[in-house]
């Protein structure tokens, strides 16, 4: 046994020498479904090719809600993972409490500021230092449609305004289809509402109401008008929306039961899985009145403070890999989003992704770039929850007038803030 033992010890020693800077890092994330998990798996393989070990800690549910519960529990027990998927203002909150590390070194080396849109990289910086790395850009204000249903209803182009939308909805209804597919979950209600609000109020109003939380904007006539339009959409939906998952709603569009759906671009995954091609079998266009606007949802990975030099190196290596051009391409193709790096060409992306990038550029130039409240990019979790409560309750209560909802919105936001 002795030779074998020394051999093993020697091998271990050799490994320890070659991997002086290699480490195990635990990564908390909520990418668990087929396509995105497979794409993210590439990241794991690449990290391991650099000698590090990726310890996978996946927690699905509630668009990251469950993962955040786990992260809190881990942080309270003094044992946070090295890397965690966090997004939006939450990154700042964790940073302000002193949990996050600093990855400026890799950001400088690879010159992140040159290719990341400043509006987005701001989320990943705490006090001016990079503490997190962005992965992708989802666009929320999409209108997905089944052209066959539109044709059967005598409609030749997607509606550009809400008036057109309601006129078309009547035609679609008369032809025997559901005009707008929807799932009645609070986040979906809020998604549709924020898209309506962007269209009705414009980007500046949206920011005033949903980013600055200005009480005057929240109770203004524009808000009331947006609420009324939103409530009117209820008539364009089928009665059984409550609790429906978004993908079931999408499958109504796919199967030709419904004509349209308002949803972020992850919906593309469902169309692709059903073997459909964009622009032919399904359409993707900006939701009514939001053509030059772009409400974004950006996933990020935050780097928690670690003392171990090897782990710090692993965090930097991971950050570098996430922003590498080929990972940006493969991952975003699978996820339905567009690369967060502006210098990655979209040549072999589909038509929807290309139009998403065009819309992003246009919105950036014209000030139409807004953070999605429904997807946790605009405000703190407590305000977001309070807004969800009011919106979803208003949408489901046939008797609540829009004026009252606007007042409740303002008071709920005040109470939560």
């Amino acid at each position: 046994m002795k030779p074998l033992y020394t051999l093993a010890a020697g091998a271990a020693l050799a490994a320890a020498v070659t991997q002086a800077n290699a480490a195990e890092i635990e990564v908390l994330h909520w990418w668990t479904s087929g396509g995105e998990a497979k794409a993210a798996n590439l990241l794991k393989q690449k990290l391991e090719a650099k000698g590090h070990t990726w310890k996978d800690f996946a927690v699905a549910g509630g668009g990251g809600d469950s993962a955040m519960t786990v992260l809190k529990s881990r942080a309270i027990s003094g044992n946070p993972p090295a890397v965690a998927q966090i997004k939006g203002p939450l990154i700042q909150e964790w940073g302000e409490m002193g949990f996050l590390g600093n990855i400026d070194k890799v950001a400088r080396e690879e010159n992140w500021d040159s290719f990341l849109p400043p509006e987005l990289s701001a989320y990943d910086k705490v006090d001016g230092h990079y503490a997190a790395v962005p992965v992708n850009i989802h666009r929320i204000n999409w209108l997905w449609a089944n052209p066959e249903v539109l044709e059967k209803s005598g409609i030749d182009s997607l509606p550009k305004t809400w008036d057109e939308f309601f006129a078309d909805a009547k035609k679609i209804r008369d032809a025997g289809f559901v005009p707008l597919a929807h799932g009645g979950q609070p986040w979906q209600d809020a998604t549709v509402f924020e898209v309506v609000l962007m269209g009705v109020g414009g980007a500046d109003f949206y920011r005033k109401a949903f980013v600055d939380l200005d009480p005057e904007a929240l109770t203004s006539d524009t808000m009331v008008k947006a609420l009324k339009t939103f409530k009117k959409l209820r008539g364009a939906m089928d009665p059984d929306i409550a609790g429906r998952d978004w993908n079931i709603a999408t499958s109504m569009v796919i199967s030709g039961k419904a004509a349209m759906q308002i949803m972020g671009d992850w919906a593309k995954g469902e169309f692709t899985a059903a073997g459909m091609t964009p622009s032919e079998d399904y359409l993707c266009e900006a939701a009514p009145m939001t053509e030059h606007m772009f409400s974004y949802n950006v996933d990020s990975f935050a780097m928690f403070k670690v003392d171990d030099k090897g782990k710090q190196q692993a965090q930097m290596d991971l950050a570098g890999l996430i922003l590498s051009k080929d990972f940006q391409t493969t991952f975003n193709k699978a996820k339905g989003s567009i690369p967060v790096r502006m210098d990655v060409p979209l040549d072999d992306f589909d038509a929807c992704a290309k139009s998403s990038r065009e819309a992003f550029d246009a919105a950036q130039a014209q000030g139409g770039l807004v953070p999605s409240l429904a997807h946790g990019m605009a405000v703190s979790a407590s305000v977001q929850g309070a807004v969800f409560d009011v919106i979803t309750n208003f949408f489901n209560d046939p008797d609540m007038p829009a004026e009252k909802a606007a007042e409740r919105l303002a008071s709920a936001v005040r109470a939560a803030g």
């Binding site: 635990e26 994330h29 909520w30 990418w31 668990t32 479904s33 087929g34 396509g35 995105e36 998990a37 497979k38 993210a40 798996n41 794991k44 990726w54 310890k55 996978d56 800690f57 996946a58 927690v59 699905a60 549910g61 509630g62 668009g63 990251g64 469950s66 519960t69 786990v70 809190k72 529990s73 881990r74 309270i76 027990s77 003094g78 044992n79 998952d245 993908n247 499958s251 796919i254 199967s255 972020g264 992850w266 995954g269 469902e270 899985a273 059903a274 996820k335 339905g336």
Partner: protein, 292 residues
């Protein structure tokens, strides 16, 4: 047992037929969700996407089961539920054993060796049954951190034992209350000690209640999600967490047949325990735990 009053009249026969009809109808209702799960798990996904949820499969396939067990993604790992199954067993076996043992000794001490304040102690323990687990999540996280048990199997075992003791103590206490005191008193007079009496007199008659306690604890701990997700490490997540990861995707494509197969796999151990030991469960309840 002859508590049925049977008269062979046509009316009685009709009543009996009605009774059976009622019981069978109820059984069908109870079975419905399980049937839907099983049917869905052996259908190809196209059939489900077409919207036929409650129909019989036109093509029977076991692929979803194989995929759920060995190749479905639960994160970046795509090797199905098999590994998590083992994690669950590592958590459940010690947790059930320890909590049952502690409950048995508590129940014994609280009924056969009453001391001043023993009723109060029981009352205080009982309150543990009613604490909503969401409430203890945060303080428990901190405690596990202090104890150095965060993200470990031992930590999870500790959590389950701590909140299981209330139930097992309740079961055993109510059972041992019904065991006659005379035998124990006689043994005490003979000089038999605390553990000797427990070992020689109580334990041999405890079969039914041990079954109840084990079934109850096994079901509770196996099905636990909240503690599992909050306190497990990357390598100790139980099967319910993996199932949730598989089933609960917010922005991904769903495969309902695989989801259902995974749900069935995750549920199999508890189902088997209920089917095989259900008889003893009812018997154990008969033997005393309801007299309280």
């Amino acid at each position: 047992m002859d508590n049925v009053i049977r008269r062979r009249t046509p009316r009685a026969r009709l009543l009996r037929a009605g009774l059976y009809a009622l019981l069978i109808a109820a059984a069908l209702v109870y079975l419905l969700p399980l049937v839907v799960m099983v049917l869905t798990s052996v259908k190809p996904i196209e059939e489900i996407r077409a919207g036929a949820l409650l129909s019989l499969p036109s093509h029977f396939t076991l692929d979803p089961w194989i995929k759920a067990w060995s190749s479905a993604c639960t994160g970046m790992r795509c090797d199905g539920l098999s590994g998590y199954f083992v994690n669950s067993i590592k958590i459940v076996v010690p947790a059930v054993a320890i909590s049952t043992l502690v409950g048995a000794i508590n129940g014994y001490a609280l009924t056969k060796w009453r001391f001043r304040g023993s009723e109060l102690v029981f009352a205080m323990l009982l309150f543990g049954c009613f604490v909503p687990f969401q409430v203890v999540l945060m303080p428990m996280a901190r405690t596990l951190g202090w104890l150095g048990l965060a993200s470990s199997v031992s930590g999870l075992v500790l959590v389950h034992v701590v909140y299981g003791i209330a139930f097992t103590t309740l079961f055993f206490r109510n059972y041992y209350v019904a065991v006659p005191d005379e035998m124990i008193n006689a043994a005490k007079l003979d000089g038999a000690g605390f553990f000797r009496i427990f070992w020689r007199i109580l334990l041999p008659v405890s079969g039914p209640i041990i079954t109840v306690s084990v079934i109850w604890q096994f079901t509770q701990i196996w099905n636990d999600f909240l503690f599992g997700v909050a306190f497990a490490g990357f390598d100790s997540q139980p099967v319910t967490v993996a199932l949730n990861n598989m089933v609960n995707t917010s922005t991904g494509v769903k495969e309902y047949n695989v989801d259902m197969a995974a749900a069935m796999i995750a549920a199999l151990p508890t189902l088997v325990v209920y089917v095989l030991a259900g008889k003893y469960f009812v018997r154990g309840l008969t033997a005393g735990s309801v007299k309280g």
